[in-house]
């Protein structure tokens, strides 16, 4: 195995660290955002269900609420 792919003539530490740091930072933001989105959707549905049937049917007509319900049912 050609070790120079990893060592990169002595620059391997800098190059691999840059790519690793970028991946970790992007992954962190993605996972944090996805977690917040799922949590908020869940809470929204929970609160919507506490409304009276009429109120719930009314808000269900809104495009955004429809999309939230659809996204929640997919998960």
């Amino acid at each position: 195995m050609n070790l120079n792919i990893f060592l990169m003539n002595g620059h391997g530490f800098y190059v691999w660290s840059s790519f690793l740091l970028t991946t970790l930072a992007c992954l962190f933001l993605f996972l944090k955002t996805r977690k917040s989105l799922k949590k908020l959707e869940k809470e929204f549905i929970k609160e919507a269900k506490t409304l009276t049937n009429k109120e719930f049917e009314d808000i269900k007509k809104q495009k955004v609420v429809k999309a939230i319900l659809l996204s929640y049912s997919k998960n």
Binding site: M8, H11, S18, F30, L37, L40, I59, K63, V64
Partner: protein
């Protein structure tokens, strides 16, 4: 134009675009990384460390683009009271901050083998660091100031000051003698980067833009649900 600022319309659109982005992001990122790490040639002066450019440069560009968009939307919201603009800039700010952080840290990792130092207080590096503080103050302002109109005024002031900093970032390498090199890629002038490096750079830029779109769409959904929840509580 204002149709694109309608939260219901944009929310509906986010679902469709999210699926599209999810399909392309992983293959483009993998191709970009393979090109950046293994296919592209090494630089005749910098050697292999030039590969850091493929994450450093797109990150810096996106962080600048995000702040410019934030400033534009803040001013738009302040002047014309288009409240849905706030949903967009709140969704853009964390993306800009993360890419700003990546640009600074990868820049530092690139600086050590190239300049022999992790950090130097030159105009370009310092103004990028200042931009990170602008991002942090901006995010803290809209998160912790409860009064919406007061938050908007403060956010607009920060974004206008940040906009001045963007101009300083752009021209810092021309106005002052800096360790940071002058731009090699010019939209209006001559580009001095060879196409063998320009292609991987373009692929990585596409990957980063797709990632930004993915986070933006998710953040936009979060901000819209927050608004809907507030209204739900009032029922």
């Amino acid at each position: 134009m204002f149709k694109f600022l309608n939260p219901s319309y944009v929310f509906h659109l986010t679902g469709k675009i999210l699926n599209f982005v999810k399909i392309f992001i992983l293959p483009i990122s993998i191709i970009g990384i393979i090109f950046a790490l293994f296919v592209s040639p090494r630089d005749y002066i910098q050697g292999e460390s030039v590969r850091i450019m493929y994450v450093h440069v797109p990150s810096a560009w996106i962080s600048l683009l995000c702040f410019a968009s934030i400033s534009f939307l803040c001013i738009l919201n302040f002047l014309f009271k288009i409240k849905s603009a706030s949903l967009i800039y709140k969704s853009l700010a964390p993306i800009g901050l993360v890419f700003n952080f990546i640009a600074i840290f990868t820049g530092s990792l690139w600086g050590k083998p190239t300049w022999g130092t992790w950090w130097v207080w030159d105009a370009r590096l310092t103004s990028m660091l200042v931009l990170m503080f602008f991002y942090i103050i901006f995010i803290l302002s809209y998160k912790f100031i409860k009064d919406d109109s007061k938050a908007l005024k403060i956010c607009t002031s920060i974004s206008v000051l940040g906009l001045i900093n963007l101009i300083i970032i752009k021209y810092s390498v021309h106005w002052w003698s800096t360790l940071h090199q002058q731009p090699s890629i010019n939209l209006s002038g001559e580009t001095t980067v060879h196409y063998s490096m320009l292609i991987p750079l373009s692929i990585m830029l596409c990957a980063f833009l797709l990632y930004s779109a993915l986070i933006f769409l998710m953040k936009y959904r979060i901000e819209t649900i927050r608004v809907k929840r507030k209204r739900l509580k009032k029922l």
